[in-house]
C-alpha cells in the first residue's frame, strides 16, 4: 500500500500546457510519483502529447517516445525489447493513452502486446471522449453523454450506447493485473500503480480523469467529480488479479443526480 506521506517530492512532469484543472495530467503526475525516474513513457497524439511534448514546452523529466495514434502498445513492445537488448534492467516502460487511444484505435495494438505478455504497464487516462480533437464520442463515452458527435436535439439524446467494458476485454487476455481507478481516490490509484509495477508481465490501469471543458464543469470540481463518479456507482473501482475480478462495494451510494448535475454533458438528462 502506498503511503501518501512517503511519496517523493520530485515532480517528473511539470510545466505542461494542460488546461487548468486537467484530470489527465494529474493522473500522470501522480503515477510518476510512484513509478519514479527510471521510467520511459510511450505515448501517442492526444491531449497528453500535445501539452507535454510540444516544442518549446517539454514537460517530462523522463524519456518520452511519441508514436502514431493506433500504436502505443506496439511501440511499448519495441522499447521493452530494445532496452532488454541494451541490457538496461529495472526500467519501467509505461504506455500512456487516452480512452480513444486505448479502447478504440489503440485496442488492436494493446491486445497484441497484452497477449505477447511483454513486461509493461499501460495506463489509460479516461476522460470519456476525444478531448484533443474537440470532444467527440469514443467507445468509453458513457450512456447519455452529450459530445460533439452525439449532440442533443429533437431526436438526439446524447450517447446511445453504454461504455465499452474495457476491463473485461483486457482481463480476457489473462494478464497478471488490471484495475480501474479514479484520481479522486489517490491512495487506491497509486497502490494499484505500485501493484502494476510489481507484477511480471503486462498490467493495465484505467483511471478516470475528468475533463473540465469536455464535461462542462468548473475546473475546481475535477477531483470531486472523480470521487462522485465512484460514490454514485458510475465508476466501479475494480481489480483483476490472479484470475479474479473484485469490485469495491459502495455502501451508501449517493444519488446519481449529484454526479450528473454539475456537468453540462448530462444537462439534457436532468430536465
Amino acid at each position: 500500500m502506498v503511503k501518501i506521506k512517503e511519496l517523493p517530492d520530485a515532480e517528473l512532469v511539470q510545466g505542461s500546457y494542460a488546461c487548468a484543472g486537467c484530470g489527465g495530467i494529474l493522473a500522470v503526475r501522480l503515477a510518476l510519483k510512484v513509478l519514479g525516474p527510471e521510467t520511459v513513457i510511450v505515448t501517442t497524439p492526444s491531449c497528453l502529447l500535445g501539452v507535454t511534448t510540444f516544442y518549446p514546452q517539454l514537460a517530462f523529466k523522463v524519456p518520452c517516445v511519441n508514436v502514431t495514434f493506433p500504436s502505443t502498445a506496439a511501440a511499448v513492445s519495441g522499447v521493452v525489447a530494445g532496452l532488454k537488448r541494451r541490457g538496461k534492467k529495472g526500467v519501467k516502460v509505461v504506455g500512456l493513452a487516452g480512452d480513444g487511444g486505448t479502447v478504440d484505435i489503440g485496442l488492436q495494438a494493446l491486445s497484441g502486446a497484452l497477449e505477447r505478455g511483454d513486461n509493461f504497464i499501460f495506463i489509460c487516462y479516461d476522460n470519456e471522449a476525444y478531448m484533443n480533437t474537440g470532444v467527440q464520442r469514443s467507445g468509453a463515452t458513457p450512456l447519455g453523454a452529450r459530445t460533439t458527435t452525439t449532440p442533443v436535439g429533437s431526436i438526439g439524446r446524447g450517447e446511445e450506447r453504454p461504455k465499452k467494458d474495457m476491463l473485461g476485454i483486457v482481463a480476457a487476455h489473462n494478464i497478471p493485473y488490471a484495475a480501474t481507478a479514479s484520481i479522486g481516490y489517490p491512495q487506491d490509484y497509486l497502490s494499484k500503480v505500485q501493484k502494476a509495477m510489481q507484477v511480471e508481465g503486462p498490467a493495465y490501469l484505467q483511471v478516470l480523469s475528468p475533463c473540465p471543458p469536455g464535461w462542462g464543469y468548473r475546473s475546481d470540481l475535477t477531483v470531486k467529480l472523480a470521487r462522485l463518479a465512484v460514490q454514485t456507482g458510475q465508476w466501479p473501482l475494480a481489480e483483476y488479479e490472479n484470475g479474479r475480478l473484485t469490485v469495491k462495494e459502495i455502501a451508501n451510494p449517493r444519488p446519481l443526480r449529484d454526479y450528473l448535475a454539475p456537468q453540462a454533458r448530462f444537462a439534457h438528462l436532468l430536465g
Binding site: G78, V79, L83
Partner: protein
C-alpha cells in the same frame, strides 16, 4: 561461402550477418519466408535477437520504431497491403530520423486481389521520406541489406531504407549467392550505437510536436539528409566493393548506355532479362542500352542526365501506374531530362503488373518500337515515339 538461396533467404542471411538485434514483423506473401527464416535462426540459437510477434504491419513498424529509439539495430519486412497498412508509421519513422532497414517483397495492391509482383506498393510510398533501393538479384538483395544499414545510420543521413525485391521473381527464386563471412561483415558494418537513445539518465522526447516554422525547418533538414544520401549510397557501394569485391553502381547501374540511341530504364529484376535482350540486339548491331535505377529515392537526377543525355529515345518500363497520369518512373525521368539541350524523347511503358511476366520478346518489342522511331527520324521525319500498356 557459395550458397544457393532465394531472395528472401538472402535477405534473412544479411539481417543475421548485420547482427540485427530486434525484429518485428507480420506475415504477408511473398515476404513471409524472410521472417520465418529469421525466426528459425533465433530458435536455433544462431542469431541473438528479439523477435516481436506483432498483430499487424502497423504494429510491426511501431515496434521497430520503439526498439530503434533505444539504440538497437532493427529490421522488418513486408509487402503490398502490409506496406500500405504501415503508411502513417513510415512517415513517423523517417520524420523521427530513425535508421532502420525494411525489406519489401514488391507485390501489387488489391483490388483485384493479387499476390504477385509489381512496384505499386513501394512506389506509392515514394513520398514517405524513406530511401528506396531496388535490387536485381538475390546476391544484390543480401549485399544491399548490409549496405542499407550503413547508409541509414550514416550521421548525415539518419533515414530508414527500404530494400525492394520483386515478389516471387526474386523472393522465391533460388540462385547462387556468395554469403560473406561474419568477420568480414563485422569489419564493414560495426555495431550500431546512436548519438542519443532512450536513456533515463539523459531523457529525450522522440518525435516532439512542432509548430509551423519548426516543422518546416525539420522537414528541410530531412530533405537535405536524404539528398545527402545520394553521395552516401555511392560511397557505401564503393566501400562495399573494397570489402567484398562486388559493386552495384551506387544509384544507377548502366549497361551499354554510353553510345546507345535507345535506352531502357527499369527497376528491379526485369533488368536481368533486359540485359539478355540488350546483348542480343547489340549482336545484331543495334545501339541499345539499359539503365537500371537502383535508388528510386533519393532520385539520381544528375546520374540520369549524365547517362541519358546522348540517347535519342528513353523507354521507361514502369511496374506501377499513377492512375490518371502515367507510370511514375516515366514522369520522373521526363522531369529529370526536361531541360537538357538535346532532350531525348521519353516513351512510357506500363507492364509486369500483378506478376505479369515480362518476357525477352516483350522487351525486344519495346526496343524495336523505339529503334523504329529513331530510324524514321534518320529518314527525316520528326522524332515521335509512343508508349504502351501490357494489357
Amino acid at each position: 561461402m557459395r550458397a544457393y538461396l532465394n531472395g528472401n533467404e538472402a535477405v534473412a542471411a544479411a539481417v543475421k550477418l548485420a547482427r540485427t538485434e530486434v525484429v518485428a514483423a507480420y506475415p504477408i506473401t511473398p515476404q513471409s519466408t524472410i521472417v520465418e527464416k529469421i525466426a528459425e535462426y533465433i530458435a536455433a540459437g544462431s542469431m541473438e535477437a528479439d523477435y516481436i510477434r506483432v498483430e499487424s504491419e502497423h504494429a510491426a513498424l511501431a515496434a521497430c520504431y520503439g526498439a530503434a529509439v533505444t539504440g538497437t539495430r532493427v529490421f522488418t519486412a513486408t509487402s503490398s497491403q502490409g506496406l500500405a497498412y504501415m503508411f502513417e508509421m513510415l512517415h513517423y519513422v523517417s520524420g523521427c530520423r530513425v535508421p532502420m532497414v525494411m525489406a519489401v517483397a514488391n507485390r501489387g495492391l488489391a483490388a483485384p486481389w493479387t499476390i504477385w509482383a509489381d512496384h505499386q506498393d513501394a512506389v506509392a510510398c515514394r513520398d514517405t521520406g524513406w530511401i528506396q533501393l531496388y535490387v536485381e538479384t538475390a546476391q544484390e538483395a543480401l549485399d544491399t541489406c548490409l549496405q542499407a544499414y550503413k547508409i541509414a545510420a550514416h550521421p548525415e543521413v539518419l533515414t530508414p531504407v527500404m530494400v525492394c525485391l520483386d515478389g516471387y521473381v526474386l523472393s522465391h527464386t533460388e540462385e547462387i549467392v556468395d554469403v560473406p563471412d561474419q568477420e568480414a561483415v563485422d569489419r564493414f558494418l560495426p555495431s550500431y550505437r546512436p548519438e542519443y537513445s532512450v536513456d533515463t539518465q539523459r531523457p529525450y522526447v522522440f518525435g516532439v510536436g512542432a509548430g509551423p516554422d519548426l516543422y518546416s525547418a525539420f522537414k528541410y533538414y530531412q530533405q537535405q539528409a536524404i539528398l545527402k544520401a545520394k553521395e552516401v549510397i555511392k560511397e557505401v557501394d564503393r566501400e562495399f566493393q573494397a570489402h567484398f569485391q562486388r559493386s552495384y553502381g551506387g544509384l544507377v547501374d548502366l549497361y551499354y548506355c554510353h553510345d546507345a540511341s535507345v535506352v531502357l530504364v527499369v527497376m528491379g529484376a526485369t533488368a536481368g532479362t533486359a540485359r539478355e535482350v540488350v546483348e542480343y540486339l547489340r549482336r545484331q548491331g543495334e545501339a541499345v542500352g539499359l539503365l537500371r535505377l537502383r535508388s528510386f529515392r533519393p532520385f539520381p537526377v544528375e546520374d540520369l542526365r549524365a547517362a541519358l543525355s546522348r540517347a535519342r529515345v528513353v523507354a521507361v518500363l514502369d511496374r506501377d501506374c499513377s492512375f490518371g497520369y502515367e507510370g511514375v518512373l516515366a514522369t520522373e525521368v521526363k522531369a529529370a531530362l526536361a531541360d537538357l539541350p538535346a532532350q531525348p524523347q521519353v516513351a512510357g511503358f506500363i507492364g509486369g503488373l500483378g506478376g505479369r511476366d515480362i518476357s525477352q520478346e516483350e522487351l525486344a518489342g519495346i526496343f524495336r518500337h523505339c529503334l523504329e522511331a529513331v530510324r524514321r527520324q534518320d529518314r527525316g521525319e520528326e522524332l515521335v515515339v509512343s508508349g504502351g500498356w501490357q494489357k
